[in-house]
Amino acid sequence: MSETLETKVLTANFDVANLDLIHVYESTGGYRSARKAALEMTPEQVVEELEASGLRGRGGAGFSMGKKASFIPKGSMDKFLCCNADESEPGTFKDRLLMQRNPHLLVEGVIIGAIAAGANRAFIFIRGEYSAQADILDAAVEQAYAEGYLGKGVFGSQTQVELVVHRGEGAYICGEESALLDALEGKRGNPRLKPPFPANQGLYQGPTLINNVETLCNTPIIIEKGAEWYRQYGVGNSTGTKMVSVSGNVQRPGNYEIELGITAREIVHGLAGGPLPGREIKCWFPGGSSAPVLLPEDLDRPYTFESMAEAGSMLGSGAIIVVDDSVPIVGVALRLAEFYRHESCGKCVPCREGTNWTVKMLERLDRGEATPMDIEIVAGVQENIIGNCLCVLGDSMAMPIGSMIKHFRPEFERHIEQARERADRAAAVGEFSAVELAQSAHAGPGVG
């Protein structure tokens, strides 16, 4: 077997044909872990095993999954498990692959998660755009019900787990856990004030455990092979393998499963083939578009939760977006700001207004109507968004844009100057056309 930079744990059986059929999945050892958790283990033992494995949330926050499950209060009330499959972070497409290729792994993970949390009702909240994947999940859930793996008395035990696949209708904010709960309750997806945290009062005011698809997909492997086995992968407090989605200006964009701790260079240059011939990397997002950008020299850092935080960014959802030197940074910042403006739910003022003003000012900068002082103002707006809202959507724009200004201030200044010169020239020859100006500005100031 040739050893590659990939470490296939979650994706080990992805080559098996018809893995979405329950009998095929079971022939690869599927549902053994859920059966074990339901029949041979107490919920406390399941939580202990998950906590011991060091598994951290794969959706972005990186919080210990076992610890999160242990926060769910005991008692006989209705408790809920929500699987967050509203994967909308720009650059992230790992959950899509997991659900499409191995839907039963997620269903099994949901059963184990529900047992750990003592939840009798579970929901998979999948974004509406993933209609094909939602259909695949629906079919998998139906098969699992038919086999008695879901419903009353799973695997013949006393445990009840009802599972519904709920489709969203297109809103990034629903990936935020409390907004997801509101959307699931049939409302506009506005984040809630915390506390109370969902673990105490979540869906329908009941205790709720919310986990990402990839996190739950890890649980059957941990229960089957044990926390000790799982910990052999990874480094320090970043245990296990991670799906990374590499996109942008690389030769082989795609999903790769890696062991946490290999360097970012091995991922970007080794697995994804590096930038296109003749191009160099200008900057990269290590964890989705919400992560502050890092520079090429940071590529030699190990790809772990701790190391990315140390570099001033975050591992987030594990989505690496590579930007090469052909792309003007102002264009990237503007596109990013436009995204967050569109997706801001409008509940908190700093986010609603801040995203809007950032877009307006970056557009001005791009049109040549700004002065270098305006860069300060844009940076100041970002600082005033961070930490001032109910959720982190505003921060998710403020942090990467702040980091772009920090790392590329000379390019911003040059961009303003060149856009201004173009505007002046156009005005002088009497050919002033806003459309032409905008187009020439998008072509960028050129590098070097």
């Binding site: 720009p90 755009e129 997806g189 795609g254 989505a319």
Partner: protein, 231 residues
């Protein structure tokens, strides 16, 4: 319909008063929950919504999927569609329109039964997605494609096949501006859109994987972690 396809869809829509953007008649009393006996609801839609409500502990949870079901029948979340959902779900039309206006995939204007969402978010932007969107919009105008909502969309979660588009929920990519003519013609003639290039098509491979361009082998076994001892 062609007016919808010009320029930036999002800005245009804000300028045109259509559907829900019409001025409200303040003289009229606010709409209450429609009487079931006075509202005609297609039997199939009613059954679908009732089945959806039964899936949840609280019937309101069915709001999103129910509006989606009504949209499939009516082509958009028209006042009539919302009235029907409201009658079956026993909620006010205002509540449902508050929900419908929040979500991108629920259309509160009659923009077309079919849709093409062209992803123009960061990762696709880096691969020339704007040009693809423009090419498709131009082509739709030229070919006179009707009853189809063509718009820029935020990250669709398929950056590996960037630039890409979702045609009625089917992901196709990677796209090039030269694909626009065939894509639009296929929608217009009700054919399969770019067969073989959809994410869920049998045997679909990304172009670099198809070329056999595989990640390189690891030179000397697994990398040794710098600090294997847990903290």
């Amino acid at each position: 319909m062609s007016a919808h396809m010009t320029g930036n869809g999002r800005t245009d829509r804000r300028l045109r008063p259509l559907g829900w953007d019409e001025a409200v008649d303040l003289e009229k009393p606010p709409a209450s929950i429609p009487e079931t006996s006075e509202t005609e609801v297609p039997a199939e839609l009613r059954a679908r919504i009732e089945a959806l409500m039964a899936r949840y502990p609280d019937r309101r949870s069915a709001a999103l999927p129910a509006l989606d079901a009504a949209q499939r029948v009516h082509g958009w979340c028209s006042p009539e569609a919302i009235g029907q959902v409201a009658a079956v779900m026993r909620v006010t039309p205002a509540y449902l329109s508050s929900v419908a206006t929040f979500y991108d995939m629920l259309r509160t204007e009659p923009l077309g039964r079919r849709y093409v969402y062209v992803c123009t978010s960061v990762a696709c932007h880096l691969r020339n997605a704007k040009a693809v969107h423009e090419a498709i919009s131009d082509e739709a105008r030229e070919q006179g494609l009707e009853d189809c909502d063509i718009r820029e969309f935020e990250c669709l979660g398929a950056c590996d096949m960037a630039p890409m588009a979702s045609v009625d929920g089917r992901y196709v990519g990677p796209l090039d501006t030269s694909d626009a003519a065939e894509l639009v013609a296929a929608i217009k003639e009700n054919r399969d859109v770019l067969p073989g290039r959809g994410l869920t098509d049998a045997g679909y491979e990304l172009p670099w994987a198809e070329r056999g361009d595989q990640p390189p082998a690891r030179p000397d076994g697994p990398p040794t972690p710098p600090d294997p001892s847990p903290a």
